[in-house]
């Protein structure tokens, strides 16, 4: 099953074939506020589900972005180096962080769907 899935750590994953596009959710960018820096992994790096994959920095603080799935980094959004504010403006679109070639699609299916994630966010406020 394709579509978009979410983690409790406020990352999203969009799966196309075996390539997962990963970023942070709209709720996450709202909570962080103005994003001023994004540190992305090297292409070719293998990451394990739950491990640090990137770092996002707001004016106030740095936060780790965890890999929602295991896989190999096949692309990163270099545009964020010059314009990190794209994460605020369009987190699910132009503000994506990285793409992974996934090893095990069942990890994707186990994540929250949009309705489940929205319910989860509602419990936080």
């Amino acid at each position: 099953m394709s579509g978009i899935r979410y983690t409790k750590d406020h990352e999203y994953v969009r799966l196309d074939g075996d390539v997962a596009t990963i970023g942070i959710t709209n709720h996450a960018q709202e909570q962080l506020g103005d994003i001023v820096f994004v540190e992305l992994p090297a292409v070719g790096k293998s990451v394990e589900q739950g491990a640090e994959a990137a770092v996002v920095e707001s004016v106030k603080a740095a936060s780790e972005v965890y890999a929602p799935l295991s896989g190999e980094v096949v692309d990163v959004n270099k545009a964020l180096e010059g314009e990190p504010a794209k994460v605020n403006a369009d987190p699910l679109g132009d503000g994506w962080f990285l793409k992974l070639k996934v090893k095990d699609k069942s990890q994707f299916d186990a994540l929250m769907n949009e309705a489940q994630y929205n319910d989860f966010v509602a419990t936080l406020s």
């Binding site: 750590d9 406020h10 990352e11 942070i24 996450a28 909570q31 962080l32 506020g33 103005d34 001023v36 820096f37 540190e39 770092v55 996002v56 920095e57 707001s58 004016v59 106030k60 603080a61 740095a62 936060s63 780790e64 972005v65 965890y66 180096e81 936080l124 406020s125």
Partner: protein, 376 residues
């Protein structure tokens, strides 16, 4: 991702402007036991830039306001702080520090000699330390009277338009000199106004009775040049201005000399001493320092945060960042921290360790953004 703010369950004190913050869409966070606005809808960068361009309104009611009075109040306060308080003229304000016996900084504060025959000194202290500061004063200066003004709100109006904006409500404030204080009547309400602040801009700190605070803030906000500014931008503005944040850049271990605050210790006090830690300060002034607080310019775009190690070219750790972040007015990261004295000269090339990676940094003069205080 890590570190997203979560709902707070603890009981927090509220300032008289709490309802206004919530109505204006503030994100409220716990700070020094208070629920405080870290930012509003505009966000930290927009709030910061607005303050530099026009006028920002800050709720700083969490800070401690008190009046110390009694015979020889000025002379007695000098036992606790290194500034010249006796020489402070009526209606004038001065920045100083409560020092411990080792010359470390218990807190930093503003002291105003209030007009009038009696010796009365107004003190403004940091929120996180106010109970400890007041206990310190009561214990050490037990023959003086300490009145805590906890029924008054405190707001700061900062920025190049601050004087014009405030003068519309309170005519005459435009003539108040920098680091001076005056009481004003605003529609029957007594305001205590000083021309000072924590942004590097011209501006005021305004003490308003709590019951009138919301109305007064609303009247200021009715001016389109005024925007509410949260603690996030307050921090980025003060860092650009090179100003110290107690508990971070200065603490009970650091001396005012190491912190670059020697300017706040007047000549008579340097010569006479008579304050806690006078020996250390005298030695540091005469023989030099082992470490010094410096400004740091980072070569890349990654901010270096508080606690990041500073290293020499050979990798040896020679200091630590005490405040660091993104400077909205400059569009790049800045930091300050302590370094060994051999690395303290402007132009010294260092590295700052960010997530295990050394990044190039250079010691620079502070402030990072020039002060624009009113010099009338």
């Amino acid at each position: 991702m890590s570190d997203l703010a979560t709902a707070q369950k603890e009981t927090l004190a509220r300032t008289p402007l709490h309802a206004l913050h919530v109505a204006e869409g503030a994100r409220m966070v716990p700070f020094a036991g208070y629920a405080m606005p870290v930012q509003y809808k505009a966000g930290i960068i927009a709030e910061h830039l607005h303050t530099r361009e026009k006028a920002g309104l800050f709720d700083v009611s969490h800070m401690g306001q008190a009046v110390l009075s009694g015979p020889d109040a000025a002379r007695k306060l000098e036992r606790l702080v290194p500034a010249d308080i006796i020489g402070l003229a009526s209606g004038r304000q001065r920045y100083t520090q409560f020092l411990n016996e080792a010359g470390g900084i218990i807190d930093d504060l503003m002291v105003t000699r209030l007009p009038g025959e009696d010796e009365r000194l107004e003190l403004i202290v940091n929120a996180a330390n106010k109970e400890a500061d007041f206990a310190h004063l009561r214990a050490r200066l037990s023959d003086l009277k300490l009145d805590v003004l906890d029924d008054r709100a405190l707001m700061a109006l900062q920025g190049p338009k601050a004087a014009a904006v405030l003068a519309k409500l309170v005519p005459g404030v435009e003539t108040v000199a920098f680091m001076s204080w005056r009481a004003f009547d605003w529609e029957g309400t007594e305001l205590f106004i000083s021309r000072s602040g924590y942004t590097g801009e011209d501006g005021y700190e305004i003490s308003v009775p709590g019951a009138q605070a919301e109305e007064f803030a609303a009247r200021l906000l009715a001016n389109r040049d005024v925007m509410l500014i949260g603690l996030g931008a307050r921090d980025s503005l003060r860092l650009e201005a090179g100003l110290c944040l107690h508990g971070h850049d200065i603490d009970t271990q650091t001396s005012p000399i190491e912190a670059g605050l020697a300017w706040s210790i007047q000549k008579r006090r340097r010569q006479e001493g008579g304050f806690p830690g006078a020996e250390r300060l005298k030695r540091e002034l005469a023989d030099g320092l082992t470490r010094k607080r410096v400004g740091l310019e980072l070569a890349g775009k990654a901010p270096a945060r508080e606690g990041a190690e500073l290293t020499a070219q050979d990798g040896r750790v020679i200091g630590r960042v005490t405040s660091g972040g993104f400077a909205p007015s400059l569009g790049r990261p800045i930091a300050c921290g302590y370094v060994e004295r051999d690395f303290a000269a402007p132009g010294s090339d260092l590295n700052v360790i960010v997530r295990g990676t050394p990044l190039a940094a250079r010691v620079v003069q502070m402030p990072f953004v020039p002060h624009r205080y009113f010099r009338g």
